[in-house]
């Protein structure tokens, strides 16, 4: 962290593009990729886009300092975000700062978790957030820079410097940026945010401290029952963090798999209940040493299996992606929650 962190405006020497990148890296501000310079003017444009959001922020762990709107905006500028993305970035941050998300634990852990950011509602399309083919991947400025801005905030304001206060053993590509939208238009089910009690016209950001997506490939099954066999056994991994630190997980069903489930009459509730019953890890897949360790810390098997969550309410179902027979499973850190926050927009619209 920079020694000059107690000064909001920094007066630095005139720097060309290359010198600026070197300077920013020296300050510890970079995720390894080039950064856009957070000039006063660019930060002011970002802040102006957030004037519908007037609430203060809690201190950000692990450094435990309270950000200002300008310092948050500076990170959004550096990430390459448009000003119009800023209210969405702030909603994601508010979710991450909810105590149930357990930011401090998820930053300090050796686990590879990163903030998963899923966007629902009309702003997805206005901002061109990818919800379809390659939605977890590269190619969309909104996905890339919204996810990256949140990561930079956690690095620079929160102090989550890799190897120092971010203690992840191996990290994850998801720590660069992990933002996608739900493919509401092609989903057979109600949008995720509506199922959580928000209005369809609300734009809502849902966050979870999760791993990068794990693929669920099933080209052969043509029934919901067949797909569930693949889903359940892919999800039931003895190496999941949640074998002992129980917590939520997200299943992002691809549109073709979703259509098969829907055709066979499986709604979200049925999917969740069946996963709860079937995505369980047989004890024979778990080492004796691990079983002893789990038992010593109060995590006992109730039968001939261990679960990876506390109940069906820990299993979250959404729909995203494009054509193809793939879905995804996103395990969580464990001691965390899935938090949804409505985006607060300026009265006039979506901002600059």
């Amino acid at each position: 962290m920079s020694d000059s962190a107690d000064t909001e405006i920094l007066d630095i020497a005139d720097l060309d593009q290359e010198a600026w990148q070197d300077y920013a890296i020296e300050q510890g501000w970079s995720d390894g990729l080039p950064l856009v310079m957070p000039t006063e003017a660019s930060v002011a444009r970002m802040v102006a886009a957030a004037h519908g959001d007037n609430e203060g922020f809690a201190a950000i762990s692990p450094r435990q300092v309270v950000p200002t709107m300008a310092s948050l905006a500076a990170n959004a500028v550096m990430a390459g975000a448009k000003a119009a993305y800023f209210p969405t970035i702030l909603a994601g941050l508010r979710g991450i700062l909810d105590p149930s998300y357990n930011l401090h634990g998820s930053m300090a852990t050796t686990h590879s978790c990163a903030p998963m950011v899923m966007v629902n509602g009309p702003l997805r399309q206005a901002l061109d957030i990818n919800c379809s083919s390659n939605c977890f991947g590269q190619g969309w400025r909104a996905n890339a820079s919204i996810g990256r801005a949140i990561q930079l905030i956690l690095l620079n304001v929160g102090g989550g410097k890799p190897g120092v206060m971010d203690r992840s053993t191996q990290g994850s590509p998801a720590k660069y940026a992990f933002c996608f939208g739900e493919n509401e238009e092609e989903s057979p089910w109600l949008p995720f945010h509506v199922r959580r009690g928000f209005a369809p016209e609300d734009t809502v950001v849902t966050v979870m401290s999760g791993e990068a997506p794990h693929n669920i490939n099933d080209h052969g099954s043509t029934s919901a029952e067949g797909l569930m066999t693949t889903f359940a056994h892919t999800i039931a991994q003895p190496g999941a963090n949640t074998v002992y630190g129980k917590g939520p997980y997200m299943v992002v069903v691809g549109p073709e798999h979703a259509a098969t489930f829907h055709r066979d009459g499986w709604g979200v509730d049925k999917l969740r209940d069946e996963l709860w019953l079937r995505a369980r890890i047989p004890l024979k897949h778990i080492s004796e040493e691990n079983l002893a360790t789990y038992a010593a810390t109060g995590h006992h098997a109730t039968g001939d299996f261990l679960t990876i969550c506390r109940g069906p309410e820990d299993i979250h179902i959404s729909m995203a992606g494009g054509p193809g027979k793939h879905s995804a499973f996103i395990p969580s850190f464990g001691g965390t929650a899935v938090v949804s926050t409505r985006v607060k927009l300026p009265p006039a619209g979506i901002g600059a």
Partner: protein, 93 residues
């Protein structure tokens, strides 16, 4: 040229450190506070063994929060603060 500091933040209200009273390292009660991972206990047992060479150990106790991923419950922290003058923490993995 002027830029906005992306690391800028304010110290939250009420974050002052407690500095009341002196600590007697040879006699005050100590809590050895672990994060519930197996190696934390090993580390703390090693600390207690070392302390045995320089001070009394009948008032040194072990406490572990029940989840490595969650913060210790406030009640547990408050109880420890009331009972002990010194806390040594171990984050084993």
């Amino acid at each position: 040229m002027r830029i906005v500091n992306p690391g800028f933040g304010l110290t939250p209200a009420g974050a002052e450190q407690a500095t009341e009273g002196k600590v007697d390292w040879l006699n005050d009660p100590i809590v050895l506070f672990g994060n519930s991972k197996p190696n934390a206990r090993e580390l703390l047992e090693g600390v207690k063994a070392k302390l045995a060479g320089i001070r009394r150990t009948d008032n040194i106790d072990f406490v572990a929060k029940n989840s490595a991923s969650q913060g210790a419950p406030l009640e547990m922290i408050n109880d420890a603060a009331k009972k002990y003058r010194i806390a040594l923490l171990a984050l084993g993995d």
